[in-house]
């Protein structure tokens, strides 16, 4: 460490007439600005460019949550919701989970990671990834989940969030209605 520092602060003698202490200060300030810049650009990139996600799939008019919840009293008790959110059925390890495990108590417009970090709904994949690590790894590589648009070049691309396909409260995939089968060779619609 000492050797590294010595290298870092090495200056040819007589280059600047300032004292050693002042030079160190200047170096520190420059370095801190540099690292701050790097930090800001990388964090901005991870948020918007690396995973260009569409808006999260909210029920219409439900967001921002704080428009109702800000004036409400916090009730941490696990209970059946009878007045609002009656359409939400928790079927996602429900015996050990409750709304406030993922939604933040104080800021309802945010989700809460295990380490206490608050994230927006557009970054919800980070929350899902805390338990489903292997799927998150594949999602980041573009294997689990769905990507549309351009895969190379500068064209627009979209990576769907976990919540676009899986209802976070009830993540099992629903059955869907298939498109009609192809016409058989003997089908009337296949004749002239």
């Amino acid at each position: 460490m000492g050797a590294k520092r010595a290298l870092f602060f090495y200056k040819p003698s007589g280059l600047l007439k300032t004292g050693r202490f002042t030079m160190r200060k200047i170096y520190m300030i420059i370095a801190s600005f540099f690292f701050l810049g790097v930090y800001l650009t990388t964090s901005a990139r991870t948020a918007s460019q690396e995973f260009p996600v569409p808006p999260p799939p909210f029920t219409e008019g439900i967001f921002p949550c704080s428009s109702c919840h800000a004036s409400m009293e916090v009730n941490r008790k696990k209970r059946e919701l009878k007045e609002e959110h009656t359409n939400i059925k928790i079927h996602h390890a429900e015996s050990m989970r409750w709304c406030l495990d993922c939604h933040d108590v104080k800021d309802r417009d945010k989700l809460r990671l295990y380490n206490g970090e608050l994230i927006g709904f557009t970054e919800s994949h980070r929350l899902c990834g805390e338990c489903h690590g292997n799927l998150y790894r594949d999602w980041k590589a573009g294997i689990h989940g769905k990507r549309t648009g351009y895969f190379t070049g500068t064209g627009k691309r979209t990576y769907l969030l976990c919540a676009h396909c899986h209802d976070p409260h009830e993540p099992k995939f629903k059955m869907i209605v298939p498109e009609p089968p192809p016409f058989r060779p003997t089908d009337r619609r296949n004749e002239k």
Binding site: G149, T152, N190
Partner: protein
């Protein structure tokens, strides 16, 4: 003597010229100038840029008359350092056929009176993946996925050593440098050798003039890909050549509601398809035939 000899030579020359003119007379007389031009069109790979431009202008005019839309026919060539590969996750495919109809929409397929599809979704009994003969593609349940079945979508596998290319007697189908096997519909004579040779049933034939409703036409087309076809032309999946050469995902990839379909460049170590091949359990259909297909089916592992 010398004079007489010359006249005979002249006579023979005149005779042969007359014979040639007589032989080409039916060609020039029984069809219009345009048809004669079509007949004398060069092979696509031998055309100069100028000739291509003229042919494209002619085709665009013809499509405008037929479908009432301004077509953009691209002849974009393969990008360097690309070899396209496809991945399909069987553990997630639910057999909903969204891909089949998205493909028909994108690629201007005939909709009825010989409905054509480039993707065929096979339904197989779970645990019976080897017996493709027991498969069924007319299944019509109310909802999918059904219990006890798996779904195996099959389309052109873009073989690296393609049997269809080998059997074509006139080189109307060939492999592009980026690995896509294409058909020149103008050059195809409709002998259907390639359909017989394909072990995946990846090719379909226009037995009649295709029925493509005017309002459903997709005017962004590629000459070797999704431009409207004619009677007697063989056609097949081209990995959406008009999209992927611009760096865009194929239509079936974008249509899949479960995200089972993956696409990428096999030569790019960072691509999605390389990630799949390196980390997942991958297999190719009928690998024993040595077709070296570039369509990789995989499972969650």
């Amino acid at each position: 003597m010398r004079n007489k000899n010359l006249t005979r030579r002249e006579f023979i020359r005149n005779l042969s010229v007359t014979a040639l003119a007589g032989a080409s007379l039916p060609l020039l007389s029984s069809c219009s100038k345009e048809e004669a031009e079509d007949f004398l069109q060069k092979h696509f790979l031998e055309m100069t840029e100028d000739e291509k431009k003229r042919m494209i202008a002619k085709l665009e005019q013809r499509y405008l008359e037929r479908y009432g839309k301004n077509f953009q026919i691209s002849t974009q060539e393969a990008q360097p350092e690309t070899l396209w590969g496809y991945g399909l996750e069987l553990s997630r495919c639910v057999g909903c056929r969204r891909c089949v109809y998205a493909c028909a929409q994108e690629n201007n397929l005939s909709r009825y009176a010989r409905q054509l599809h480039w993707i065929r979704v096979l339904r197989l009994k779970r645990g019976n993946l080897i017996n493709l003969e027991d498969s069924e593609h007319y299944y019509a349940p109310e909802t999918v996925p059904e219990k006890g079945f798996i779904y195996l979508p099959v389309q052109c596998q873009q073989c690296q050593d393609a049997p269809c290319v080998k059997v074509c007697p006139i080189h109307a189908t060939w492999q592009e440098p980026d690995g896509i096997v294409v058909v020149d519909y103008n050059w195809c004579i409709g002998c259907r050798y390639c359909i017989a040779a394909c072990p995946y049933k990846g090719r379909v034939f226009n037995w009649a003039e295709p029925n493509l409703p005017k309002d459903e036409v997709n005017p962004n087309v590629h000459y070797l890909g999704n431009r409207p076809r004619m009677k007697c032309a063989v056609e097949k999946c081209t990995f959406c050549i008009q999209r992927v050469r611009q760096g865009r995902y194929p239509a079936c990839v974008e249509a899949c509601p479960t995200g089972s379909r993956k696409f990428g460049n096999l030569l790019d170590p960072k691509s999605e398809i390389r990630y799949i091949i390196e980390r997942k359990r991958v297999f190719r259909l009928r690998e024993e035939l040595n077709t070296e297909s570039k369509f990789y089916y995989f499972f969650e592992s």
